[in-house]
Symmetry: C2
Subunit: 206 residues, 2 copies
DNA sequence: GTCTATACTACGATAGAC
DNA sequence: GTCTATCGTAGTATAGAC
């Protein structure tokens, strides 16, 4: 399917060079087709861009869905269960941030976070909202002493610790003294995230 | 000074549209000069890009310097002092991430983290390395039970909680149900970050 | 130092053959 | 559906006037 090849190539080009920097000619050439195919399939450059956002959302959904389904299927009544599930979700998210295939997606997503367009809407509604809702629901049970605002503020911090694994990747490599994140570094970062999250979640209400 | 106006305009254009997406013509026009001024002052588009990175590093250094100087001037011997200083540095960093003026810089920096070029080198050596070193030094005192790797892994998490305030801004606004981060939201996020960090730092060694 | 003028390349959109 | 050809616009670099 040529339209799928175009989308895959577009993920890389838009992610690395941005909307204005990417060239439809180049995307088409690298996909082994003519530029006018983009017009035919997506109506133009902007249509391809929006379709790329939805393509990414669908792939992230596919990867994150099972674990979220598992959480939704579990009846969570006590702090311990909520904490354990929350750690699982966070670790799954960290694993996603550390897996090589998400590098291409995250470049696109992080770009959209800085200068949101209609594409961010598709990303958020397509997958991010569900992740956020799950985090917030579990956090409300794990920290019954928090009001809704505190829950959301804390969720941002937990989320940030996983997101930085992609958003701050270049700096992390420097700090760890590695050229890339090898398996040992990945394990260290996941363990640290788990320990940090556990400390945050199990803090005794004052 | 026309070269300074060019740099200021370049921060916005490169940050919002990326290296390839930005136009030297437009940058020059918005700076009130001719495009060939860029050639004269910076040798071309790429020279302007690298100079922009150094310009940003210098401005961040100016903002973060005083607080780092204060830490370096303090003799830190016990966990309590290290913890308090660490919380101060983190809150200062969060304040920076929340202040409007850093929006322009952070777009550029986050872009460089995704696809690092020579410009990232200038950013890291220009300001990031010193922040990281300070965080790691304090963390080593606040958590004497950690080895060097654990310190660095934990520092990434602490850093991430502040960085997400910029890198994940669009998503945070959704989660908090705001169009922008108002003063009340900013205060909430800083308080949550402080509470999270405190939980992480004061965890009893097992 | 800053400008105008120009050379050359690449862009996105579109029309029309097949 | 996919291609080629072409149009108008905009990109960077550079030479040379002032």
């Amino acid at each position: 399917m040529i339209s799928n090849r175009l989308l895959e190539t577009a993920v890389d080009h838009f992610g690395q060079r941005g909307f204005e920097g990417a060239s439809t000619r180049e995307i088409a050439r690298e996909s082994g087709t003519a530029m006018s195919s983009i017009t035919y399939h997506f109506g133009g450059k902007e249509g391809l861009y929006l379709a790329t956002a939805e393509h990414i959302a669908a792939q992230v959904r596919e990867r994150a869905g099972p674990i979220l389904d598992q959480v939704d299927a579990t009846e969570v009544k006590d702090r311990a269960t909520a904490t354990e599930l929350l750690l699982t979700v966070l670790d799954g998210f960290a694993g996603l941030m550390l897996s090589p295939e998400t590098e291409r997606w995250s470049r696109f997503i992080i770009r959209e976070q800085q200068c949101p367009t209609e594409a961010f809407e598709r990303l958020y509604e397509g997958v991010m909202r569900r992740v956020a809702d799950t985090l917030i629901r579990l956090l409300g049970i794990a920290r019954p002493d928090f009001d809704d605002r505190q829950i959301r503020g804390t969720a941002v911090g937990l989320f940030g610790q996983a997101m930085v694994l992609r958003a701050g990747r270049a700096a992390i490599c420097r700090v760890l003294g590695r050229k890339d994140l090898d398996a040992e570094s990945a394990q260290l970062l996941r363990a640290s995230l788990r320990a940090n999250a556990l400390a945050i979640l199990s803090e005794t209400p004052r």
